[in-house]
């Protein structure tokens, strides 16, 4: 199918963020064309864990993840079974008393957004996750969190966009963004609005975007049904994820619908080198074994790496990019893009059609980057 020479919106990138934006914009009645250099859902979207999670690293992150989870729950019943939506919940695991006492603050912040959570003591923790090592202090169970299979979710969002008239063109690499359009090979495509949703690659098209690829490793095991039942994350994860300057690993395991166990996570800044770093992979697996020693009897069948689109202030860039006419950006979601894709799409669509967004959009405004550049920060 050929795209009309002029559409209302061009979305660059058919990852989960681009797919969600395309869907929301198409549902507004706009004529949307989605371009992907490769194939839909094949980049960072295919490399991540697929955790739908409330995160409270900052109030803005909490607001966006809460808005997004609301949208995921609304969407859930319409998603095909292949999306593997599993409302398994998250347990933030506390290693010691200090960490467990601190979850009260986390619980209070969640409660303000109407998010249910339950403090677990050690006994409560082992009752539901017996494979965790002994000597842990407990944790915080967030029952509303979930797990999905992200590439399939991206396709489901794109299918919905297409039912609302959107056109997807895969294998179409955008070389440059121009005023009200893009150049792709010999073609120039025009639209009133262009959305740069190219994730880790978005800075290649809009060079002022301070987005760097933050590499991660994952490992997946064979099928061991019920080895764990919740997404398990160490409370130290937030610290690990927040520090940009050094490599880090954190304990994070996830039960998949297939019975497989997905093991993460690592963070490195090494440019676009996608080779497996066996030192980091070992650190990551050692960390997992510290929390779940019996992981050692499970066979790992595959490991891989991917690149998170990271921003310096740990918040995505969503909204108008004023230096270029007609350009919006929806990128920089780092490791949270699967969760926040839907909230991003809502926010972006509200901004595009001129509606008041349900959460304050200022914190995510891409132009904050321009301000910090001109202020010499």
């Amino acid at each position: 199918m050929t795209a009309p020479s002029r559409s209302d919106v061009i979305v660059i990138g058919a990852g989960i963020v681009g797919a969600a934006c395309a869907r929301a914009l198409a549902r507004e009645g706009l004529r949307v064309v989605v371009l992907d250099a490769d194939f839909a859902g094949g980049g960072t979207t295919a490399a991540g864990m697929g955790h739908l999670v409330i995160m409270d690293d900052s109030p803005e992150q909490l607001a966006l993840t809460a808005l997004s989870m609301e949208s995921w729950r609304e969407l859930r019943s319409t998603l095909p079974v292949e999306v593997e939506y599993d409302a398994c919940g998250t347990i933030w695991v506390a290693e010691d008393r200090e960490q467990r006492d601190a979850v009260a603050n986390k619980q209070a912040a969640y409660r303000e957004h109407g998010i249910e959570s339950e403090v677990l003591d050690a006994e409560g923790l082992y009752a539901i996750e017996p494979n965790l090592r002994s000597g842990l202090a407990g944790g915080l169970l967030v029952p509303g969190d979930a797990v999905i299979y992200p590439p399939r979710a991206a396709l489901a969002l794109l299918d919905d966009a297409r039912r609302h008239g959107a056109i997807l063109r895969e294998g179409c690499r955008v070389d440059a963004i121009v005023d009200n359009g893009v150049r792709a090979g010999n073609e120039v495509l025009y639209a009133d609005i262009v959305v740069n949703a190219a994730g880790a690659a978005s800075a290649a098209l809009t060079p002022e975007l301070p987005i760097v690829p933050r590499k991660g490793h994952l490992a997946i095991t064979d099928r061991y049904p019920d080895f764990c039942r919740h997404q398990l994350v160490e409370l130290g994860y937030l610290t690990s994820a927040h520090v940009m300057t050094s490599d880090s690993v954190a304990f994070n395991v996830q039960p998949r619908a297939t019975g497989q166990v997905l093991i993460g996570s690592s963070r490195e800044l090494v440019g676009w080198d996608r080779s497996t770093n066996h030192v980091v992979l070992k650190q990551m697996l050692d960390r997992a074994l510290q929390f779940m020693p019996s992981l050692s009897r499970l066979n790992i069948i595959r490991t891989w790496t991917g690149f998170r689109p990271a921003t310096p202030d740990k918040l995505p860039l969503i909204g108008a990019w004023t230096p270029t006419r007609g350009l919006y950006v929806a990128t920089g979601h780092e490791g949270l893009g699967i969760t926040t894709s839907l909230g991003t799409a809502r926010l972006l669509t509200d901004l595009v059609v001129g509606r008041m967004p349900s959460i304050d959009a200022a914190a995510y405004a891409p132009t904050r980057v321009l301000t910090s550049v001109s202020a010499g920060l």
Partner: protein, 87 residues
């Protein structure tokens, strides 16, 4: 020539006498066993390569899941669980 020494293993709870030195895969196949496990989509699976590469012959051995039957040699009292005995 002496007859080979035999050992008793248990397959899905049933006793089976087999010659020492036999692999679990050979022991089951000699006994007429076809389905070792089921694939994700529920298809029957049986040993293919016999040398540890294809992973088609995985069974539970002594409560450890995903053991390749073609790489494990029988021993007295060894317990094998196939897909016939798992939900």
């Amino acid at each position: 020539m002496n007859a080979p020494t035999s050992v008793t293993i248990r397959v899905d709870g049933r006793s089976l006498r087999v010659a020492e030195g036999t692999t679990v895969a050979a022991a089951l196949l000699n006994d007429g066993w076809l389905e070792f496990r089921r694939s994700v989509s529920g298809e029957s699976r049986t040993p293919l390569c016999g040398m540890g590469i294809c992973h088609e012959c995985r069974v539970i051995i002594n409560d450890v899941e995903h053991q390749r039957a073609c790489l494990v040699t029988v021993s007295e009292g060894l317990r094998v669980t196939t897909s016939a005995a798992t939900p």
